[in-house]
């Protein structure tokens, strides 16, 4: 009896939270400058409420994570990671520009390696990070073993993934899957 009440509570909470966020998102995107300065008109605002409701009932199950996922801690660890990732994007562009103008060599190779990551979010975040950091692009991921197939443009970028493993450790730290 208590278990079903808890599940029901969580469901109501998810729907309410998703609806609030979706409605604020709609206000930010379309309503603020167009609808609100005019005389108050419920039919215009009701379009936004309707759209937010439809999106809410389609997505509330995956939008709000289950209990005990430590979302706040993961978010707090994720924000510095985004800053580091923006710096890596800058380095990646400098690196590829050097290769375009012939300062560094182009010597492509395909490498495979295993990681300790298992959850969907961690796998996707790491695959995107590989593509954004200097000289490497993800080709394929095998989620069961955390195995990545990566195309590296030269030996240096390939070694930074297989030997140094700084990024694996950072993603593992953010998603707590070391």
């Amino acid at each position: 009896m208590e278990m079903t009440e808890m599940v029901e509570d969580h469901r109501t909470f998810s729907i309410a939270l998703t609806f609030c966020i979706m409605f604020i998102f709609w206000l930010l995107l379309s309503a603020w400058t167009i609808y609100l300065p005019e005389p108050y008109d419920l039919s215009k605002v009701s379009r936004g409420i309707l759209a937010a409701l439809i999106v809410t009932f389609l997505t509330y199950e995956i939008f709000v994570p289950g209990r005990g996922e430590k979302v706040l801690l993961k978010t707090r660890r994720f924000i510095p990671y985004v800053g580091w990732e923006l710096w890596q994007i800058y380095l990646a562009t400098i690196d590829v520009a050097k290769r375009v103008f012939g300062i560094l060599e182009v010597d492509p190779q395909i490498i495979e390696f295993d990681t300790t990551l298992r959850s969907d979010f961690a796998l996707v975040a790491f695959a995107d990070s590989i593509t954004l950091t200097p000289g490497t692009i993800t080709i394929d991921v095998e989620p069961e073993r955390g195995r990545y197939i990566v195309h590296a443009i030269a030996k240096g970028p390939a070694d930074s993934l297989t030997v140094d493993q700084t990024m694996q450790k950072k993603v593992g730290y953010v998603f707590m899957e070391e």
Partner: protein, 104 residues
């Protein structure tokens, strides 16, 4: 006002320059995979700089928030589309260029 114009123009010019570098790489690199390296990476920083220039020019309005969301969406969608192209080429068996081979 003039200072904002100058700063945003510098950002737009830097972004365009990086986009041009990516295009040169697209024409110069030897095979499909390496060409994706050039476009995939240069476009990401290029769009960040161009949108940053637009945001500085616009000041703090609701258009700035929309531009920020566009940039954030590109940061998620750009690597995903590059990866999709790469995987499609790899699965269909496109040969990988090795050093010393003929240009493809």
């Amino acid at each position: 006002m003039l200072a904002i114009d100058v700063i945003s123009t510098i950002f737009l010019a830097a972004g365009s320059l990086i986009m041009i570098t990516g295009t040169v790489g697209l024409l110069k690199f030897p095979d499909f995979y390496t060409r994706l390296h050039a476009t995939g990476k240069c476009d990401t920083l290029g769009q960040i700089l161009i949108i940053l220039g637009c945001m500085i020019y616009e000041g703090f309005t609701f258009i700035t928030i929309k531009l920020l969301l566009v940039s954030a969406f590109y940061l998620l969608a750009g690597p995903a589309s590059t990866h999709a192209l790469m995987k499609a080429a790899y699965v269909t068996g496109l040969p990988v260029w090795k050093k010393g081979d003929k240009r493809m």
